[in-house]
């Protein structure tokens, strides 16, 4: 599949995994995002993994300051950001050292030769320059003096040395665009919008990008360039979207579908802040965002907005969810609709703020004083965040209950091409405010046990709610023993009733057999890919993915009962496994990973083969 392109070979590939790595100040996230957007526009299927440190600008050259961005693109379906990179771009020795283990053994390694000086080598802990010894034996190493080539290209732009040095990521990006035969236009457009009014910066970054591109074309260092044909995606309009943006759009869509104003009370926290950023732009959609003084005020203000008739949301990550605990209990007691989005990160405590984990499941399901049941949902991919945000709102409004939507740092920051749904295909959300005192009491019940929603400002419906135990129907404070027993059961039953409106758990593959891989949340892509590979090797394995965890779909027990083994891979020490064991009194096999990183499909594949007696999967 090669053809001549001038003097260079053009080799067609089915799929490629590229990893950009450099200092946290080198602009690797930007480079990766630009490459992703262009790749999506070209028509490849794609998945990304930003992997960055908690420090904003760690000292240059240090190992802990390395920021990486991996993306996997293909002419067929893509489910993960790729296990190991085919191409690694390392902007300095530290980036090389940290990321080499993430590259395939025969990967193409492109290094910024200029940065391999004695100071940077020492900072990265290299006693000998790895470009000079056999550290990189077996790899296809391409050394490019990126810093000095950028400086030469930009010398007449009038930019300062510092500004020129900062443009080197665009040189690297241009080079990669040449290597993978991608157009420059999307990034050129982005540059002119981003730096509007700063002509020198537009000129400089444009020159750097083009210089990188032409360098690829002219240098003898590259003998081959690659093309990855567009994937056969379904017809439609597409956009590239991250999980956090999809969540923000989903919440706004839910507001439109329910004809309610959207209120967000939130406090900045990694990796959830982007949802606040996106929603704060949607003012013309009737979205009010309140950056509160702390996490508690974030949820408390949202509860106030819910009381007064808004679709109310609070967004956070693990430590913030812990702080909101008492207020969630208040929302349970007052039976107000509230969406709580928790973008999970590594814990406990401050933990690994920029890294992914799934370790808040039990906190979400149980972490409150008293018997305080809430609905818990989990999104499985960046795109799925859109659907599940709407689901969370729909359930909260229908059942007058708080709903916790779990996403995680991996799907929140990762992106993929999204076939934009037809607005007419989205189901409206019915909301009715009670206005007739003859028909509704504050705590009267519908067929699902939901209470009516009564907005302040409604004449004749004045009532008081609060955290003290309530009597059913009247909603008056009530301390009687029988009443408390009754109400605790009622609240539990109401949440259980959500089973009536959620879809059954589906099985991908045979619906009975030796092994079911049961996943939840962001492990979806890695499990799908692992299962595909196992099937290609002739193994029979099925996969189910839970998006509704409290309550579980009503057929869950039945699905599980048809399999001899259930394997649960999760980025915690067995939290879904705990729930499944408790609910169905059955043994499950767990696969845990607590490294702040998503599963590689190979890790799951190995475990599947181990369970199926297929050796260790090597």
């Amino acid at each position: 599949m090669t053809k001549s392109n001038g003097e260079k070979e053009l080799q067609s590939l089915k799929e490629v995994t590229v990893r950009f790595a450099g200092d946290s100040g080198d602009g690797m996230q930007l480079t990766g995002t630009q490459f992703s957007n262009t790749t999506a526009i070209v028509g490849n299927d794609m998945s990304t993994l930003p992997d960055y440190p908690a420090e904003i600008r760690a000292p240059a050259g240090t190992l802990y300051g390395v920021s990486g961005f991996q993306l996997h693109f293909s002419s067929t379906d893509v489910h993960t950001p790729g296990d190991n990179a085919d191409v690694l771009v390392a902007m300095n020795p530290a980036a090389l050292k940290i990321n080499l283990p993430e590259a395939k053994k025969d990967a193409v390694i492109i290094v910024n030769q200029d940065s391999f000086d004695s100071k940077n080598l020492k900072m990265a802990g290299y006693l000998v320059n790895p470009l000079d010894d056999d550290t990189l034996a077996g790899y296809k190493v391409i050394q490019v003096p990126i810093t000095s080539l950028t400086a030469t290209a930009l010398k007449d732009t009038g930019l300062s040395t510092k500004e020129i040095t900062r443009s080197k990521n665009f040189f690297a990006l241009g080079m990669m665009y040449w290597l993978f035969n991608r157009p420059l236009e999307p990034t050129l457009e982005w540059i002119s919008t981003k730096f509007k009014g700063e002509d020198m910066l537009i000129d400089g970054n444009t020159k750097a990008l083009k210089a990188g591109y032409y360098f690829g074309d002219q240098t003898e260092l590259f003998s081959t360039r690659y093309s990855v044909e567009p994937a056969k995606l379904a017809k439609g309009i597409y956009r590239n979207i991250s999980g956090n943006e999809a969540t923000a759009i989903g919440l706004t869509a839910a507001a439109k579908l329910s004809k309610l104003p959207l209120f967000l009370g939130s406090y900045p926290i990694t990796p959830a802040s982007d949802i606040l950023h996106y929603l704060s732009r949607y003012k013309n959609y009737g979205v009010k965002t309140f950056q509160a003084e702390d996490e508690i005020s974030g949820i408390a203000s949202a509860i106030g907005a819910a009381f007064s008739g808004s679709l109310a949301v609070t967004t956070t990550s693990g430590p913030g969810l812990a702080l909101k605990t008492e207020a969630i209990g208040l929302a349970v007691m007052t039976e107000l609709p509230l969406v709580i989005v928790n973008v999970q990160r590594g814990g406990p405590s401050t933990g690994l703020p920029t890294k992914t984990e799934q370790s808040d499941l039990l906190q979400a399901a149980y972490g409150r004083n008293g018997e305080a049941p809430v609905v818990v949902l989990a999104a499985s991919t960046p795109i799925d965040c859109f659907d599940m945000a709407i689901e969370a709102a729909r359930i909260a409004l229908k059942f007058m209950t708080p709903v916790i939507l779990l996403t995680d740092g991996y799907i929140a920051n990762g992106s993929e091409p999204w076939k934009v749904p037809n607005p007419d295909d989205l189901e409206p959300i019915e909301v009715e405010f009670a206005t007739d005192p003859a028909k509704s009491r504050p705590y009267s019940r519908d067929e699902n046990l939901a209470r009516p929603w009564i907005k302040p400002g409604t004449p004749g419906m004045e009532h008081r709610i609060g955290g003290l135990e309530k009597a059913n129907i009247t909603g008056n404070v009530n301390y009687e023993p029988e009443n408390h027993h009754f109400m605790c059961n009622l609240r539990a039953e109401k949440v259980k009733n959500v089973q009536r409106v959620i879809p059954d758990l589906e099985v991908d593959g045979d619906d009975s057999g030796e092994l079911l891989v049961l996943g939840w949340g962001g492990t979806y892509g890695a499990i799908v890919e692992a299962v595909i590979h196992c099937r290609e090797q002739g193994y029979k394995v099925s996969h189910s993915h839970l998006k509704y965890i409290v309550p579980l779909p009503k057929n869950t027990g039945e699905v599980l009962s048809k399999f001899k083994h259930v394997l649960i891979p999760e980025l915690n020490l067995g939290q879904l496994a705990h729930i499944i064991r408790k609910e169905y009194l059955r043994e499950v096999i767990t696969l845990s990973k607590m490294k702040g990183l998503p599963f590689k499909s190979g890790e799951i594949q190995t475990k599947i083969l181990e369970v199926l007696g297929g050796g260790n999967g090597n």
């Binding site: 956009r239 934009v420 907005k455």
Partner: protein, 344 residues
């Protein structure tokens, strides 16, 4: 709708604001007076009854919403101002009130309080200050005087108390006032003025807890002593006090001093006029620090009020402005925004 509402409010009486719930404060508690004055004041505010919302936290004072026949939310400890903020941002047309105490607002709710003041959210905060934790049965509070002997401080408290109006002023509250449970007329006036103010209104009410801190404000409220211990702040009027109106407060630079108007040395012209609309908060700040401890009368009334745009008003204005500029967002616009491309 407008005319209906006005008609309706015209007819309202204090009774219309009393809920069916039995009031469960201890007999003799100062809270009864606060409830009565609020119920007497609300009918004259020209606000439709259904537009009142009371939000409270936890403590004796926070039972208040149950006794008002308005929309009410008895929430969790310290969070009333945060919840009220959400109500007001979401529904600026509502009249949002917070009932809270010195423990609820100054201690666990301190952070929410200062930020509510800073943002100038248009809510009215009525803080019942009895300088004790009542509902938990008698521990010292953040407004208890140093050396206070309570169940949790059997040898006397070591820490210094907050001065609530001073904290409110320091947090840029746009309306700061004080009244007493034993001064019904004065309290009604202050509640009315707070209601009329557009912005965060903070009203501290000295309230006697006859069970755990009886007599805390005795000198300020007893008929025999109050004329000499209290100065009533009135705008553009000299700060005079005393049984025979024979004493005045004069600012000697930054120091308030008491001058004797009976011995011929000073006249009424020497008494400093109170300016509640003072552009600078400095005088008001000094007034909040006047007390018997410094051999000065304790002020009641409005320390300061200034008009500035509210937070909720700003949020609404921005929403309107951006919507005008960009056009109302539709579902279609939302979904197809950003960089899109077509696969054929």
């Amino acid at each position: 709708m407008e005319t209906n509402n006005v008609k309706q409010t015209d007819k309202l009486t204090a009774k219309d604001f009393a809920s069916a719930q039995d009031v469960r404060w201890c007999p003799g508690c100062g809270d009864y007076s606060i409830l009565a004055q609020v119920q007497r004041t609300f009918p004259i505010l020209d606000i439709p009854k259904e537009n009142f919302v009371w939000v409270s936290g936890i403590g004796c004072s926070s039972r208040f919403p149950y006794y008002m026949d308005t929309y009410g939310f008895h929430s969790i400890h310290g969070r009333a101002t945060a919840i009220a903020t959400g109500v007001k941002i979401a529904r600026p047309e509502l009249s949002v009130w917070v009932a809270t105490g010195d423990g609820d607002l100054m201690s666990i709710g301190g952070n929410h309080f200062i930020h509510t003041c800073r943002k100038n959210v248009d809510i009215k905060i009525i803080m019942f200050n009895n300088r004790i934790y009542g509902l938990t049965k008698g521990q010292y509070s953040p407004t208890s005087e140093q050396g206070k002997v309570t169940r949790s401080t059997p040898y006397g408290s070591v820490d210094y108390p907050f001065n609530p109006p001073s904290l409110a002023l320091g947090s840029e509250a746009s309306f700061v006032a004080r009244s007493f449970d034993r001064e019904p007329k004065h309290m009604q006036e202050i509640i009315r003025r707070a209601a009329d103010h557009k912005g965060t209104a903070f009203v501290e009410i000295y309230q006697n807890c006859n069970i755990f801190n009886d007599g805390a404000f005795k000198d300020l409220t007893d008929k025999e002593t109050k004329d000499d211990t209290v100065v009533v702040l009135e705008h553009d009027k000299p700060m005079v006090f005393g049984k025979n109106k024979d004493k005045g407060v004069k600012f000697d630079g930054f120091n308030p001093i008491v001058i004797d108007l009976s011995n011929g040395k000073y006249s009424m012209d020497d008494v400093t006029l109170h300016n509640e609309f003072d552009a600078s908060p400095v005088r008001a700040f000094i007034l909040t620090h006047m007390s018997a401890e410094g051999h000065l009368p304790t002020p009641i009334g409005i320390f300061r009020q200034v008009l500035k745009p509210t937070y909720d008003g700003g949020v609404a204005a921005q929403l309107e402005q951006i919507t005008k500029k960009k056009g109302e967002g539709t579902l279609e616009k939302l979904l197809f925004s950003g960089n899109t491309w077509e696969v054929e």
